[in-house]
């Protein structure tokens, strides 16, 4: 059996979404089979790429055949491949769910179904381009594609609150882009290169200008990743958007910005991860974790609870930075990447299931959700499984990720960070437990006759949640071999 070459797979992953989106938009038709075929093909390409990377490891591809400082490189890394894979899984699940969700939309909202798929594919293409990029400016453009598509997707829900949230998201996103671009300009002005490897080789960690550049890059990405205190735009945008959109945004778009922070701080900027910088990032994370967790506990609307949970979970992810200050960084990067993958699968499942439950209940209020009955029970099952993964119960992917980070914290004697991690896990347990308790012990009757829940509204969420739970075993075993799942990128 011969798989397509890694280069070919990368080209498929980055160009197919854009080509399909352009075709769909230009033709003005919505051939459901064509969009689903594109989504399936992308998923197969991501799986095949995962297989290739497992065999071959890190590979670098010159675009246009031009060498580094002049041209742009793609860098296929194990951590990036994990992100490409979860993007494909969430992308496929969302496309199927979206096809079912917008199908029964009455009246003028048919417009929503018409632009959903092109925008969805654009976002997918931007994400894929971002996960293989290794060039500061190329990343900026990929971030722009991703952000603009996300804003448009939020605005699809034409309700006033959603439009306001989209506007706020647009402004926050543009602010992040501008600050990031400033950082790119500062570093380019200093070294005249944009390529990650070239930058890593040249970077002078003591230089004030370079530090200013690193700060600007980081602040821009913190705004895009909605890290406390720059999280203000997230709950509205994610909580008010249509469910498949929320799943994409919470699961992948925020994670992409965060992944970029990981790439930078474990890659070219690794030398700058001093005690001060790492601690500061960790403190922001602790703030996000506690603030987001407490607010999630106070929410009365289902999707707002899930949205605040995202703020909290990314606070948890920020704790990788203080743990990477000294000692072996590889398990920390592995833990961070797995944490993102777990969150992407579980959170997307949670949002998709939440959308189904809201439709089944006719209300978004947690107190008025239907109980564990009828077809809604499959959505509840997805919620329960996704909650287990988010909390990090064994044997989920969340458990493997958190275990890696906890082990590092214990071996470093970082008791403070260990305490914060446990507090975060307890908070997650508390707000998800409260949701399950309220809804399952005191269910509302729901509207009669009950709305039809097609398999498209139930199966994607359930499969994503199952994947988040089942892939933990595999990721955990991988770690126990002593073989690191995620290697440090070359040149750092």
């Amino acid at each position: 059996m011969s798989l397509p070459s890694t280069a070919m797979l990368v080209v498929i992953l980055v160009t197919l979404p854009l080509a399909a989106a352009t075709l769909l938009f230009a033709s003005g038709r919505q051939p459901r089979t064509l969009t689903l075929a594109a989504a399936l093909l992308l998923t197969f390409a991501a799986l095949a790429l995962g297989f290739n990377v497992h065999l071959e490891g890190v590979s670098v591809h010159r675009i246009g055949g031009w060498a580094a400082p002049l041209g742009i490189h793609w860098q296929v890394t194990p951590s990036g491949t994990v992100m490409l894979l979860v993007t494909a899984l969430v992308g496929l699940a969302g496309a199927v769910y979206g096809a079912g969700y917008f199908l029964h939309r009455p009246g003028p909202e048919g417009r929503m179904a018409r632009v959903f798929m092109p925008l969805w594919l654009f976002a997918w293409g931007g994400l894929n381009a971002l996960f293989v990029a290794a060039d500061l400016f190329n990343l900026y453009v990929a971030l722009e594609v991703m952000t603009l598509a996300s804003v448009a997707l939020v605005a699809l829900s034409a309700r006033r609150m959603a439009l306001q949230a989209a506007m706020r998201y647009l402004l926050a996103g543009l602010f992040g882009s501008m600050i990031y671009l400033l950082g790119v300009a500062l570093l380019y002005g200093q070294y005249g290169v944009l390529d990650f490897d070239a930058l890593a080789a040249m970077l002078d960690v003591e230089d004030a200008g370079s530090r200013a550049g690193a700060v600007a890059l980081t602040v821009g990405l913190l705004a895009k990743a909605a890290i406390f205190p720059l999280h203000f735009w997230l709950p509205g945008a994610h909580g008010r958007a249509e469910p498949p959109v929320s799943a994409l945004l919470s699961g992948l778009v925020v994670a992409a910005a965060f992944y970029l922070l990981l790439r930078l701080w474990f890659g070219p900027l690794a030398g700058m991860l001093t005690f001060g910088a790492g601690t500061l990032l960790g403190v922001l994370g602790a703030g996000a974790l506690l603030w987001g967790g407490v607010l999630a506990l106070l929410q009365r609307r289902l999707k707002m609870l899930v949205a605040y949970s995202t703020v909290s979970q990314f606070g948890f992810a920020m704790l990788v930075f203080p743990l990477a200050i000294s000692g072996n960084r590889e398990p920390v990067l592995a833990g961070g990447t797995l944490l993102l993958a777990n969150h992407a699968l579980a959170k997307a499942a949670l949002f998709l299931a939440a959308g189904t439950l809201v439709r089944a209940s006719g209300s978004e209020r947690i107190g008025q959700l239907v109980g564990f009955s009828g077809r809604a029970r499959w959505a509840w099952l997805a919620v329960i499984l996704a909650s287990a993964a988010l909390i990090g119960l064994p044997p989920t992917l969340g458990f493997s990720a958190k275990w890696l980070l906890l082990q590092t914290a214990v071996s470093q004697g970082a008791w403070w960070w260990l305490g914060i991690m446990l507090a975060g896990t307890l908070l997650t347990f508390a707000y998800l437990g409260r949701l399950l308790e309220l809804a399952l012990l005191d269910p509302a009757p729901g509207p009669s006759p009950p709305p039809v829940l097609t398999p498209a509204l139930l199966v994607p969420a359930l499969l994503l949640a199952l994947l988040a739970c089942a892939s933990g075993v595999w990721a955990f075993d991988f770690e126990l071999d002593g073989e690191t799942f995620v290697r440090l990128e070359p040149g750092s």
């Binding site: 280069a7 070919m8 080209v11 160009t15 854009l18 080509a19 352009t22 075709l23 938009f25 230009a26 033709s27 003005g28 591809h61 010159r62 675009i63 246009g64 055949g65 031009w66 400082p69 002049l70 041209g71 742009i72 417009r111 632009v115 092109p118 925008l119 654009f122 293409g125 931007g126 381009a129 400016f137 190329n138 453009v141 990929a142 722009e144 594609v145 603009l148 598509a149 804003v151 448009a152 605005a155 699809l156 034409a158 671009l181 400033l182 500062l186 380019y188 002005g189 200093q190 070294y191 005249g192 290169v193 944009l194 004030a208 200008g209 200013a212």
Partner: protein, 329 residues
């Protein structure tokens, strides 16, 4: 649009020693006027004045780019920053209720300005200090060294469409995405004729429009060896089309729907077809064979230039033109 670091933009003053006093005076005046206009744009309490200040600011920024020896960016800034954005703002102003149009905006509360002002000043000072110490090496020499194999004579076009063509492809994607995003919000807001008190405009536009089209193709052709190329050409085309719309022209009936959408997507599509085609033919994504580079780049430039023109016009339209009464142009 945002061009990748241009090799011509680096080291403007070095090499020819001290600047002439006239140049210094000109630059100082330019800088002063820009600051005044920026202040007026933000603080003028009459909205119309604020918009006009903004347009003037865009024009002077273009002049500043010329002074920095970056004519490509100057062209883009003049047509987009001043022209098209200005037209958009004026159209928005025309759509506001008459009593709000010339309305005095509420005065900014003093208390909240102070922290922002301090932060802004501190940020500017730090940036200035950092920028002045930057060695700014740039990739100019690497670009010049690779020029023989680039297929075009203009270094800027070589960077945009060959060395960093992947960036440019994604940028065209961002523009198309902006159109889809805007159109997804609702119908064409300019469906009603703008009430512009300019009786001579239609005649003038009839006279000027062919010139705009001609200049567009001139800029496209020129992009191969000098300042020009798809972005400025598209912006110029858009300027002509927007002017025609302002003069009362409508999107022709037979252009609406699919033909218009294909025109919008053509640029990105041409880019993708060439890039993936080369992957299939040569084995490397976007690797132009040197003997075919010129023609392939020209194909992309023409498709992208026309698409950019239509995309910018579509942004001005504000929504997908629907089937309404009214004939062609």
């Amino acid at each position: 649009m945002r061009a990748p670091p241009s090799p011509t933009a680096s080291d403007p003053g070095n090499g020819d020693g001290l600047m002439h006093p006239v140049e210094i005076t000109f630059d100082a005046l330019l800088l002063f006027s820009m600051v005044v206009l920026a202040w007026q744009g933000v603080h003028a309490r009459n909205m119309f004045r604020a918009v006009v200040s903004f347009i003037m600011f865009g024009l002077l920024t273009a002049v500043a780019w010329v002074r920095l020896e970056a004519p490509d960016i100057a062209l883009a800034e003049a047509s987009l920053g001043a022209g098209l954005t200005g037209a958009l703002l004026l159209a928005t102003l025309g759509r506001l209720a008459p009593e709000r149009r010339g309305a005095r905006r509420p005065k900014v509360v003093k208390l909240s300005t102070l922290p922002w002002l301090t932060m802004g000043l501190a940020g500017t000072t730090v940036l200035l200090a950092v920028t002045l110490t930057l060695p700014a090496p740039g990739l100019g020499e690497a670009v010049l060294a690779a020029m023989p194999a680039a297929g075009v004579d203009s270094p800027v076009t070589a960077v945009l469409l060959n060395f960093r063509a992947w960036d440019t492809l994604l940028e065209i994607g961002v523009m198309l995405l902006a159109v889809i995003a805007l159109w997804s919000l609702g119908q064409d807001v300019l469906a009603s004729k703008p009430r512009l008190p300019a009786p001579a405009l239609p005649a003038l536009v009839r006279l000027l429009f062919p010139l705009f089209v001609l200049s567009t193709f001139y800029l496209l052709w020129r992009g191969g060896h000098g300042p020009g190329g798809a972005f400025p050409a598209g912006a110029l085309l858009a300027a002509g089309l927007v002017l025609a719309l302002l003069a009362g022209a409508q999107v022709p009936e037979r252009m609406r729907g699919a033909p218009l959408r294909w025109a919008l997507g053509a640029g990105l599509f041409a880019f993708l077809v060439v890039a993936v085609g080369l992957m299939w033919a040569v084995g490397t994504f976007f690797a132009y064979p040197p003997q075919h580079a010129s023609i392939l780049i020209a194909i992309i430039e023409i498709a992208a230039g026309l698409s950019i023109g239509v995309m910018l016009t579509a942004l001005f339209l504000g929504g997908e033109p629907t089937d309404i009464k009214g004939g062609g142009k």
